[in-house]
Amino acid sequence: MNSRHVFVALCLMMLCLRPALAQRGLKDIPAPDTAAELAAMQVAEGYEVNLFAADPLITKPLQMNFDPQGRLWVSSSSVYPQIKPGEVANDTVTILEDRDGDGRADRHTVFADGLLMPTAVLPGDGGAYVANSTEFLHLKDTDGDGKADTRRVVLSGFGTEDTHHIIHTFRSGPDARLYFNQSIYIHSHVETPRGVRRLNAGGIWRFAPESLVLDVFARGWVNTWGHAFDRWGRSLVTDGAGGEGIYYGFPGAAYQTAYGTPRILQGMNPGSPKYCGLEIIDGRHLPDDAQGQLVTNDFRANRVSRFRLTEQGSGFASEKLPDLIHSQRVTFRPIDVKMGPDGAIYIADWYNPIIQHGEVDFRDERRDRTHGRIWRVTAKGRPTLPRIDFTKLSTPQLLGHLKSPESYARDMAKRVLFSRGSEAVVPELTTWLASLDPLDPDFERLRLEGLRLRQGLDRGSQSDIDSGLLKSVLESPDPRARAAAARIVCDWADRLESPVELLAAAVDDSSALVRLEGVRALATLGGKRAAELALHGVDHERDDALDYAVWLAARETKDAWLPAVLDGTFVDDGHFGRVIFAVRSAEASAAVPRIVTALKNGGVSEADRPAALSAIATLGDPDHLRLAFDVVTDPATPPARASALLGDLLDAHKRRQISPAGDVTAIERLVTSPDDACAARAIEATAAWQVTAAAEELAGIAASATRSPSVRRAAIAALGGLPGDPPRAALLKLCTSPDQDEIYPAAAIAALVLHSPTEAATQAVAFLGTARNAAARTLLYQSFLSVQDGASKLAAALDRSTSTLSPEAAHDGQQAVSASGRQEPGLTQAIAAAAARSSGAGSQTAAAPHAMSAAELDAFVELVRGKADATRGAAIYARENLKCVTCHRIDSASGRVDKAGGRVGPNLTAIGASSPLDYIIDSLIYPAKNVKEGYNTVVVQTADGQVITGIQVARSDEELVLRDANGKELKIPTATIDEESAGTSLMPAGLIDSLSREELADLVRYLSELGR
């Protein structure tokens, strides 16, 4: 390329941009200069970086994949983030080649243009698969001029609700299927010859282009921008917003934000920054310690990161390693990584000072629309590998490459073999398999590769499968081979003699990994016998993923096992625990009588008894609940067990509005239990079951200075839930009786809100006028905000009254309103007016004291970078009144999770590495301005007048689970929801109002250094 012309053009462009650049945090955008960019990279010891290609050969690269000829296919978009009215979409797919092997692209061809935000490209089947917004295309060059001339819409109906969420991350799987992902805001509805496939929210699609079978491999995540397969075909995943590092993908896995599931899994590195792209690196060019490392991109912090996996349980443990590259330039945006034909690591750099489209206006001039780089990382002093054109190799030569130490070579060889068809490959493959040496340490993997080839060559006929080979791999001494083979049983099930029986050994395998795949495969096959076998999983030790897998299997196969359990034909081999687990997992209330019978006639082992009782309490009818109730109130039951079971009974009341049959006053006995947890639950139960006779005793507990705070608070809350005059009178008394701790009268007023909001409002105004305890004041405000019309009642009382609010009391009130995620202008004004009466000033709501103009922000950024002190900032962060730690979590560098930190707001472990200064400052002053994906609130109004604001944790047809501002998870039955709307942020505005400018600078400095 003519670099001088480009350089001049770039300088001119930067001059034009200059005025726009005189803006906040992003004012120092460096001019594009590949030499300076290289110089700004800190590269890990032993590695070096060179420029493989840059604009104008490519612009704005989004994804890249190599083909078996060693050519690099790159999809690019300058239309992103949004097509302009009148603009003709003309995004491209480009092919780059390094013909002379000097590590630099020397030839480029625009394979396709006229595309609309092609977020992915994967060469294959004589052309390339390309993501084109709503469409999954196959483009082909039929006349050999290098340009695509046919365009086929293979699949369509993918959502575009967010253009960095549209289908992306095309990968070629070990099973010759195409894998591709969509992110959280996308809703896709795809017609296939076998019916419509729908996926709401994020997930990984799996597609077989030959049979046109499309299904969802795994679900959830926020921005699933990375997916790689290890040498055994296992899926590792990264998330460009999820924050848990490396994730393990298996069929049916569900992670954060998965739609329609009440249970999700967790990633392996909580507190990680966002990652984009993923590749497992290996091969002779790279040093020994790099073999098998995972490389992904921390695009926000301008880093290329590395992880090491170790096998653990049914999956892996993942450990973060020092970065491969860390650039000081804000424009370095690594977003994809691939191993190349020469054994080097290739990094696609999107090159943009702006990270994505949410931050600044779509048309903001700081958005770069023309540049892009592909960097090449090599190991110093080690020879690169000769490039091979795999399409030119004979079939035996290709088979030979399956022994290659480079996964690149193995994958390319397989892709070419897949395309040659059974007739050409199978005879050679048979010879090759026979020639393998069983003593070769790689023998088990090579035999699996042979099986994979049969899978990839499968065109649906009986002769395409090799059940003998499959069986031998199922019996391999290597659990990784056995696990892979279990999944393949599913794919060949339509032609295997008895696929379910083939999996019988897997579910009792000594390896958790094999059990996991066996359980998932059986659930996919379905039917009574498959369900019975899958539930063998219950007999063995289970880590989280395996427990999830059995849980999911029980739910998916419910229609197969439930009738059998009911009619007594279910075969449990004397392990009734399997039935109990299945009933609880699938919430199969119809089977509760079966468990009751077993309990009564001794069919439940002592070890299974708590689970059986829990199933009855959670799922049963009132008569069943009575059985559990009698166990709870049996003096012989230890308090801890009674407490747990009572929790289940309370859950049944909350979720299904049912209570134990008969007289439940016996629960009163437990309110005096010396076990605080048990007593508090018993007290809660008196209100749930309306044991009005308990009112007097509760009043005594509420006022008792000798009872523990949790029990006293429970008693006060229960008085709010009990109907009638005695509880109300008791609460009124508690409201006004002097107490050392203001939290008790506050709690009493909060409970009174449920009896009479008007009466409570009067009490509240009096209380707020004098209260000094901020937590008590906040509790009060929250109680009014959580019932319908509560806010207006409190506002009316404030307006009626001549009493006043201190600035602190007013501040707490405005914060509580802000944290509710709703607009309550009436209450906001009433609070401001009461505060103004106190100060004698006019009734004006103070604007955010830290609001800044652009110039002030510049000066403030200087202060943060200069005099501010991170150690002082850390102390400010920890201050109780700022509540940072209540909602946010910061994990320690050793990777151990501080469970004390809150989970209400985003994990801040890497906030400094991932967010620019102005973003951090803005988010502190205006919390609702930029809400991290997955942290937008939902506001729900229930049929009984409650108003609940929280962040969605899970959602299914039956239930919505929200996490509220106190970190509590609330399960709301869908049937009780009257109205649902979108709120903004749970973080109240004004939290930092009490800080001085210097203190705020210290806090920002501390946050900005986290993860750096």
Partner: protein, 331 residues
């Protein structure tokens, strides 16, 4: 529900119509001849025609959505009415059903259904083509009654959008005509079982068309399933190829009482290109990307960009003018 006798008599009429249409030798008539009198008098069951000034809306699943990007049916209808001033708005959505199952976005489908009706109200169509039934047919016999009921509701709700609200005296009650479209058969490769399940759904559509006094385009009965020595009509057994859309276009035009020249696809390629361009502009108008940020719950971040979306309106109108002028020119 109509009595079975009434239903069977309607079926006979519609069968007669099919026979009558099939009797017209395709392509043997000069282009744009007067409508064949035996087929399309306005009183014949299932008959429909396009009039000068018609605002046409297409509603349906992938068949409709992809027609927007292929443009064969629209092109054929425009070309066969070169003197009429027609507008077309394609509201197809992949995977959709009569319950608007693809239109919920972040809400339940019922909300998407309401939004769809609101959009139709806004577009004020005089004629709406409704093409559903394929995706519903995967439910088999068990889903048939529900489908039929919902299709009837959809017809009534669509007509309801043309009923004047108190503040909208301009709307003309009953002005909207409906044309129901049966799904074409699955190609042989996709299996006969699928067609056996689809057939009663096609019949339900014919029945509802009669019951609702709607027009009919019977692709199920009229689309050929094979064409010897020619490009296949579908790309995957379900979705039409360009050749398939050209065939469907001919059936639409014939049903409207006109005919097409044999070489219409080649002859109107320029017109079709313009139709497709116009439809792409309209797509960005009614289903813009980044909806989450522009209009929905993250609009506090990028809602200021919403101002661009209506800027597509004049572009769509200009493109449609261009369509009409090309159509006139090809006359």
């Amino acid at each position: 529900m109509a009595s079975s006798r009434a239903r069977s008599s309607r079926r006979i009429v519609s069968r007669l119509l099919v026979v009558a249409l099939a009797a017209i030798p395709l392509g043997s008539r000069p282009a744009f001849a007067d409508p064949p009198t035996q087929a399309a008098s306005p009183t014949t069951a299932g008959a429909w025609s396009l009039r000068d000034g018609d605002r046409v809306v297409f509603l349906g699943d992938t068949f409709v959505e992809r027609e927007g990007d292929r443009g064969f049916i629209e092109t054929a209808l425009v070309a066969s009415h070169p003197d009429a001033s027609l507008t077309f708005r394609n509201l197809g959505w992949s995977g959709d059903t009569v319950w608007a199952e693809s239109r919920g976005v972040f809400d339940q489908p019922s909300k998407g259904y309401e939004r769809m009706l609101a959009l139709v109200r806004e577009l004020k169509p005089t004629i709406v083509f409704v093409a559903y039934g394929r995706n519903e047919s995967y439910q088999g016999a068990a889903g048939l009654a529900g489908f039929r009921k919902q299709l009837e509701k959809l017809c009534e709700d669509l007509r309801g959008t043309a009923t004047p609200a108190s503040d909208n005296a301009a709307a003309n009650p009953g002005a909207m005509r409906l044309v129901l479209v049966t799904p074409h058969r699955f190609a042989a490769a996709a299996g006969d079982a699928r067609n056996a399940a689809l057939e009663p759904y096609a019949q339900a559509i014919r029945d509802v068309a009669g019951h609702e006094q709607a027009g009919l385009v019977d692709l199920f009965a009229q689309m050929p399933t094979t064409r010897p020595s020619a490009t296949p009509l579908t790309e995957n057994g379900v979705h039409l190829s360009n050749a398939g859309y050209a065939e469907a276009a001919r059936i639409f035009v014939t049903a409207s009482g006109h005919a097409l020249p044999a070489d219409f696809a080649a002859r109107f390629e320029k017109l079709r290109t313009q139709v497709v361009d116009k439809n792409r502009l309209f797509f960005h108008r009614w289903r813009p990307a980044n909806e989450t940020y522009i209009f929905l719950f993250r609009k506090h971040e990028q809602g200021n960009n919403a101002v661009e979306i209506p800027q597509f309106d004049p572009l769509v109108e200009a493109a449609e003018q261009q369509v009409r002028s090309i159509a006139k020119g090809t006359r």
